[in-house]
């Protein structure tokens, strides 16, 4: 056991950080930009990353990656959030949509989609949740019925982030209504512009474009849009969602906000107040705990293991870190924190959605409890 980064990793971080500091000298959140502008700027930015081999460094070389160890992916994730996550929704392409296609795609799907994702010229959205299938994702009812060389899709997806600007939807649909509900689900890689797909905004208190509903009415797609074998979509998605859980370095973004809040306190000579000290310290420690738990996930990935349990534990710690930093932000900034886009306000959105977006907190707890306490009551 040791806790040193290799020279290569340190050099990678330094070079990446210098580049990002140069391109984005002033911190702002790309997610706060209006959707169209966000799409445009993010697309332009990931192309810069792609040119430098920094978009998909962990992917195999044959698919446009540089086969770097998962640690590079971690460094990338940390530096991205430290610079406002300029990849926006595209972290998803890199972290789990691409890997899903690597895992289960046909040669044609790989050639087309992986090339585009690794070049950074495509936006995706994730069509999982439905009005009656949130935590209970396997209860989804959108159907895809085989008709010759095509599937006909009908149903409704909800909460779909970025659907208004995405070109493709990574869609889960039911292809078999019999048997265990998990066993009748398939994945489809669907162009959002296909006739019969209607995307609507859902207004919310979150960043613009956070939520949409997507209606599918007799949407015909070629069978070649299906990813992986029919009815096996759920297990593919399950495997890859570990990546979704670790894909955004939430602890690092929260720690960044905490640093800004500490500076705010220092500017007001508050750093020798014991209550301020305790508040900052416990929030910092929460971020550090989450950091080490995600490092355990990357370590397991490096050793070729399937980091399920450690990914759940990390996610749990990351949600806590987000919330504790939010609490610290409002405790310390008081009414100043209420202003739109104050550090406290920015952290609030991440903290209040942390346990819901990307699968709920309680689902992680349930999964962990099953493993740690056993399934018997």
């Amino acid at each position: 056991m040791h806790f040193d980064f290799s020279d290569d990793e340190l050099a990678f971080r330094k070079e990446l950080k210098e580049f990002l500091d140069g391109e984005l000298p002033v911190y702002f959140e790309f997610f706060d930009l209006p959707p169209e502008e966000r799409a445009e700027r993010s697309m332009a930015f990931v192309q810069l990353l792609s040119e430098r081999g920094w978009l998909t460094p962990a992917w195999p070389v044959e698919y446009g990656g540089s086969a770097q160890a998962p640690w590079q992916q971690m460094i990338l994730a940390e530096e991205m959030v430290a610079h406002g996550e300029p990849r926006t929704g595209q972290y998803m392409n890199v972290n789990w949509i691409g890997p899903a296609i690597i895992l289960a795609g046909t040669p044609e799907q790989k050639a087309y989609h992986l090339t585009r994702i690794s070049k950074g010229d495509v936006l995706w959205c994730q069509g999982f949740s439905e009005p009656d299938a949130g935590s209970d994702l396997a209860a989804l009812r959108t159907t895809a019925v085989r008709d010759g060389d095509e599937y006909v899709i009908n149903g409704e997806k909800i909460w779909t982030s970025n659907a208004g600007i995405a070109e493709f939807c990574f869609l889960l649909a039911r292809t078999n209504a019999e048997g265990r509900k998990q066993d009748g689900i398939s994945i489809f890689l669907v162009p959002v512009a296909t006739p019969g797909i209607e995307v609507g905004d859902i207004e919310s208190v979150l960043h613009p474009g956070a939520f949409h509903h997507v209606l599918f009415t007799d949407v015909r797609v070629p069978a070649s849009c299906r990813l992986g074998p029919e009815n096996e979509g759920f297990s593919i998605v399950r495997t890859l969602l570990a990546n979704e859980r670790t894909g955004v370095a939430r602890y690092h973004r929260a720690a960044g906000y905490l640093d800004r809040i500490a500076t705010w306190c220092a500017e007001r000579d508050l750093l020798d107040d014991s209550a301020v000290i305790e508040t900052l310290a416990s929030a910092r420690a929460a971020c550090e705990a989450a950091r080490l738990l995600v490092y355990q996930v990357y370590d397991e990935k490096t050793r070729g293991l399937d980091p399920d349990v450690s990914a759940w534990a990390y996610r749990t710690a990351a949600v806590r870190a987000e919330r504790v930093v939010n609490e610290a932000a409002f405790t310390l900034m008081g009414a100043e924190g209420l202003a739109r886009h104050s550090f406290a306000d920015s952290q609030f959105e991440w903290a209040v959605t942390a346990g819901v977006a990307g699968g709920s907190y309680e689902m992680q707890l349930n999964s962990l409890a099953r493993v740690l306490l056993g399934s018997k009551g």
């Binding site: 949130g134 859902i202 208190v205 900034m333 209420l338 819901v356």
Partner: protein, 308 residues
């Protein structure tokens, strides 16, 4: 000791509930959210019906005022009912009470609730307080997610001195008012969440049937109940330093817990504009930072209890 309402109190609250049911509520809160500003109409209506002056009435007193403050918050009233019905009567002579009044403390920075909409501002400056009319200060609106119109205030005139010790008195009543507003607002958020959980089926059963979630709802419920009763008792006793600050401490704790629990338990729908939750939940963030928030309430409690 008698912890049920007297017939007179019940009658006042029933009538006030009817008035609030008509004039406040989610639809009105949503209307005001898009229009900006505060609910002058509601404040006038409550004033004309006498609800804002019950603290001065010998029979009703501040206890009824705190019940009305709580009730108004529960109905999502967007008006300074607590400031007007609990704080102002404690420091301003009855015949000079402005209709629309709000409070700021010079000890704390940050934007002030309802400052731009008020006719008058009670400014706490250490032990004393001064009353400024709207002509004596300017405001700059502050954009916020957290449910109330906020503005930064710049004082210009000198205001009217409200007497020695008026700052301390106002501050104690302010804490009671905040605690009551939190109790009502948090209750609205939690009630809606319980309703949602009873109807929302996942994994073949309603969320309300899951024990892991039930316990969290109940813990939140108990925090809110505690704060509510503490605000009531403090008001009844005339807002003593200790019990008014302990009510505020309990309420701020309840507010923080409620805000995060109701959103977690409601899932994505809780964040949408079409659903009512954010109309109450987000206000809790403002209420918990007001009057110096937890740090100031805690200091006051420790000083009130153990001396400092």
């Amino acid at each position: 000791m008698e912890m049920t309402l007297s017939p007179t109190q019940q009658a006042v609250l029933d009538a006030c509930t009817t008035a609030l049911g008509r004039a406040a509520g989610p639809a009105r809160a949503r209307e005001l959210r898009s229009a900006g500003g505060a609910d002058d109409r509601l404040l006038t209506l409550l004033g004309e019906a006498g609800y804002l002056d019950v603290a001065l009435d010998e029979e009703s007193g501040p206890l009824t005022a705190v019940l009305i403050t709580e009730l108004a918050a529960r109905h999502l009233a967007l008006a300074p009912v607590g400031a007007r019905s609990l704080v102002a009567p404690a420091v301003i002579a009855a015949e000079q009470l402005p209709e629309f009044v709000t409070i700021m403390d010079l000890a704390f920075g940050g934007p002030v609730r309802y400052a731009a909409q008020s006719e008058a501002l009670i400014v706490l400056d250490g032990h004393d307080a001064r009353l400024f009319t709207a002509a004596e200060y300017t405001t700059t609106a502050v954009e916020t997610l957290f449910g109330y119109p906020l503005a930064r205030v710049e004082l210009q005139g000198g205001g009217v001195d409200l007497g020695a010790g008026s700052g301390d008195v106002a501050r104690r009543w302010w804490r009671v008012a905040i605690a009551a507003e939190i109790a009502g607002t948090a209750r609205a958020a939690l009630d809606l969440t319980i309703d949602h959980m009873q109807g929302r089926v996942q994994f073949g059963k309603p969320l309300s049937a899951l024990q892991a979630l039930q316990h969290r709802v109940i813990e939140t419920h108990v925090l809110i109940e505690g704060a509510m009763w503490m605000a009531r008792e403090a008001a009844y006793h005339g807002a003593p330093a200790e019990s008014s600050s302990s009510a505020a401490v309990a309420a701020v704790e309840a507010a923080g817990r409620t805000l995060f629990e109701v959103h977690q338990l409601s899932g994505s729908i809780g964040f949408t504009d079409e659903y009512d939750l954010t109309l109450s939940s987000l206000r809790l963030q403002t209420l918990r930072t007001e009057a110096g928030g937890m740090a100031a309430h805690s200091r006051a409690l420790v000083a009130g209890r153990w001396g400092a």
